[in-house]
């Protein structure tokens, strides 16, 4: 029983991370009908930046780990990394997708695959082929315990929640209540009409990519700290989980991406714990295929498109 609760807690933490990345997929798909293959690799670069940043402050500047200074520096790093990844994401849109705005649908998808490989290769050359351990700046303290005495969750899980939940709330507020958020929703509904209504479509799309990239960067920081490592293949690994989450919740649907993230996170954790970690990808891929084949609009979505 305790095993179950512990797995679910880990699943919840992972789920929040996956949700953050999934929202990036869903925002871009909603506005461009493009599966941004490179999105998860931008997240991977976020983990890499975190690794380099922490190495710089701990090894370079000699800031002691598990200190208040370290904690504060993390919260300073967060916006910095988010700006980095946001810029990278928006630049990729500008260079590799915008010229294909009016091309047949598969063209930008292939371009996105190209960009994904570019970023992965970059990750490979700056990080090397194997996982790299991130400086453990957070104290590895457990905070809650089961009646039997085994640990339940600790500082790590609190950190995940502390970063992801505020970001999710801010995003929700932004897309729902601000003028730019409205512009994003309008452009996602009907690009041409939005343009005719005076919305600067290019700027709105760039903004979408900036936000998606920023969220990916934040997820990158969280993962680097939570998993304690960075790896050039993180993009592929988390990309699968997040994209499945986005599809599960109904691609284009923000709430769906969030809930989908939580569901996939928990399924992943349960699979790792009770099945075998080496089969988790197969499980998640199978879910992805089944959803796309039988309910492509997602579990949460109401409409099922009519096909003659």
């Amino acid at each position: 029983m305790e095993e179950l609760v512990k797995a679910l807690t880990i699943g919840l933490a992972n789920g929040l991370i996956i949700a953050l990345i999934a929202i990036g997929y869903t925002l871009v798909y909603g506005i461009l009908e493009l599966i941004n293959f490179a999105h998860a690799d931008v997240f991977m670069l976020g983990t890499a930046f975190t690794y380099f940043f922490l190495e710089a402050i701990v090894v370079g500047l000699g800031v002691p780990t598990s200190s208040l200074t370290a904690l504060l520096l993390i919260f300073a790093a967060l916006p910095l990394i988010m700006v980095f990844t946001a810029t990278i994401n928006a630049s990729i849109e500008r260079v590799a997708y915008r010229p294909l705005r009016n091309a047949p649908r598969l063209a930008p998808l292939i371009s996105a695959i190209g960009m994904s490989f570019v970023l992965q290769n970059l990750g490979l050359v700056i990080l090397g082929p194997s996982q790299k351990a991130v400086e453990p700046v957070l104290p590895k303290t457990d905070l809650a315990f089961f009646p039997s005495g085994t640990a339940w969750f600790g500082v790590d899980e609190i950190m995940v929640v502390a970063i992801t939940i505020p970001l999710l709330l801010v995003l929700r507020w932004f897309v729902g209540s601000t003028r730019q958020g409205k512009a994003m929703r309008a452009t996602a509904q009907d690009r041409e009409a939005s343009g005719l209504m005076g919305i600067d479509v290019n700027r709105t799309i760039s903004l979408t990519f900036l936000i998606a990239g920023a969220l990916a960067g934040a997820a990158g920081l969280v993962v680097a700290l939570y998993y304690g490592q960075t790896w050039f293949q993180f993009g592929f690994q988390f990309g699968l989980l997040s994209f499945t989450a986005a599809v599960l919740g109904g691609i284009g649907n923000l709430t769906g991406a969030t809930l989908g993230g939580l569901v996939i996170g928990m399924i992943g954790a349960m699979s790792d714990r009770f099945l075998e970690a080496k089969w988790t990808s197969v499980l998640v891929f199978s879910i992805l295929i089944l959803v796309l084949v039988f309910r492509p609009t997602g579990i949460l979505s109401e409409k099922v498109s009519e096909r003659a």
Binding site: E33, L34, I35, V95, A96, P99, L100, A103, R105, L106, A107, P108, L109, I110, S111, I113, G114, M115, S116, F117, V118, Q120, N121, L122, L124, V125, I126, F236, L240, F243, K278, W279, S281, V282, F285, S286, L288, I289, L292, V293, P296, R307
Partner: protein, 429 residues
């Protein structure tokens, strides 16, 4: 053939100007064949005579030819039928593993490769039907993701089945059905050795010709023959009723259905026939390498084949063959050559001087996928039809000026051709 407007010649450099199209193609073909036969025999001599030229080794050419077969197969799916398959490596793996299961000490089955290859092709074709049947109705980008998923599942399953236990869950008794620690596929280590194809003809090579990586020259000849067969079959398919149906579906699926084409079965045929070529290549690779392991059949391989097709010319048979040789030559030989002989040292020196590890450890070979990724993006933006597109071939073959297509000739050539042709009357009824 009905005599229409007189053939308009495109201005071309000598010495081909005097020959007509068909003869020129024949001459080129014979030239390539002679080169293919002679090169493996003289390669070593060339290498020692001209060491500063990046000659591709015979084993590299074998990889090139293998990927040409793969590219021709994927070309049926992507170029003819217009379906994006990102998991094409799965069928490659299935062909290779089928060969490994049926011609190696792994299960103790030793069927002759010449028969096993047919089984491998059938297995891949069957897998193509299994995958395609539920998924071909999906929209293009969704189909791409699903096929990617399938490719990954196949790889991971082949890897995991090297050490697995199939048991009932605890609440049903927990009885072990298969295992524990059953080994079906060799897992990470894979399966080796695998029996290579042999022909019992004695000679200076021994009692029989063995087509394995111990005898690269013979293996190259074998794969070249397999490539020729593949090319020939694809040509026949392209110029048939089925080929036209595929192109119609690619152009406009709704209109194709409105012309009586059963798009479901036609797409399934594309998928399945395309997959069978992948299995074909897999059967060769497994036996030639005499060893396979799951991790080598990964997503990057699928993408490499996509790069080949996009670069060479989607839908164009000789385009994708040229693309395969070019891309794998760059991947296997040229990058290493340029790195070792030209770029690596100065960049490393710069890195050591400035203390930047990225430069200090620079090796051009490690940047191959970065280059291919950029190539993909550039091709889609600037020249999506590829470097050797289908239309040029069409224009050349039929000699009729294509007014708006710049690949057919310069404006001057077209103007000259216009003048030469008789006036086509407006009203022909």
């Amino acid at each position: 053939m009905t005599a229409a407007a007189p053939t308009r010649r495109l201005a071309l450099p000598d010495p081909f100007r005097s020959m007509d199209r068909k003869r020129r193609e024949k001459v080129l073909l014979v030239g390539v064949l002679i080169l293919a036969v002679v090169y493996p025999l003289v390669f070593r001599a060339l290498e020692s005579a001209f060491p500063f030229v990046p000659w591709p080794g015979t084993s590299v050419l074998i990889i090139c030819a293998t990927f040409a077969i793969l590219a021709l197969g994927l070309n049926i799916v992507m170029g003819f039928a217009g379906l994006l398959d990102l998991g094409y490596v799965a069928f490659y793996a299935i062909g290779a593993y089928a060969t490994a299961f049926l011609a190696s000490p792994h299960f103790g089955i030793h069927i002759s490769w010449w028969i096993v290859v047919l089984i491998a092709v059938a297995a891949a074709a069957g897998a193509g039907i299994l995958l395609g049947a539920p998924t071909l109705k999906l929209r293009g980008d969704y189909l791409a993701i699903v096929t990617l998923g399938f490719g990954e599942i196949v790889r991971i399953v082949f890897r995991n089945l090297g050490d697995f236990t199939l048991a009932l869950p605890a609440f049903l008794g927990g009885a072990v059905l298969i295992g524990p620690h059953a080994n079906l596929t060799g897992g990470n280590v894979g399966i080796n050795p695998i029996d290579p194809p042999t022909i019992p003809i004695p000679g200076p090579w021994g009692n029989e010709i063995v087509f394995s990586n111990q005898n690269a020259t013979a293996s190259f000849y074998l794969v070249a023959v397999l490539l020729i067969i593949t090319f020939f079959v694809c040509m026949r398919l392209r110029d048939s009723k089925l080929g036209r149906a595929w192109m119609a579906i690619r152009e406009d699926e709704t209109a194709a259905a409105a012309m009586g084409i059963n798009t479901v079965t036609t797409k399934l045929l594309a998928f399945s026939l395309g997959a069978s070529f992948s299995g074909f290549a897999g059967a060769f690779t497994g036996a030639y390498q005499t060893a396979i392991f799951a991790e080598s059949f990964n997503f990057a391989v699928s993408i490499l084949i996509v790069v080949i097709i996009i670069l060479g010319g989607i839908g164009s048979l000789r385009g994708v063959v040229i693309g395969a040789f070019a891309v794998q030559y760059v991947n296997q030989t040229l990058l290493r050559f340029l790195g070792e002989k030209i770029l690596n040292d100065p960049v490393n020196a710069l890195g050591d001087a400035t203390g930047i590890a990225l430069l200090g450890d620079f090796n051009l070979v490690n940047y191959n996928y970065l280059i291919f990724g950029i190539v993909l993006a550039i091709m889609m933006i600037r020249r999506p039809e590829g470097l050797f597109p289908v239309e040029t071939a069409k224009a050349e073959l039929h000699g009729v000026g294509i007014s708006s297509d710049s690949t057919a000739g310069t404006p001057d050539e077209l103007a000259m051709a216009e003048e030469a042709a008789p006036e086509i009357p407006k009203d022909t009824r």
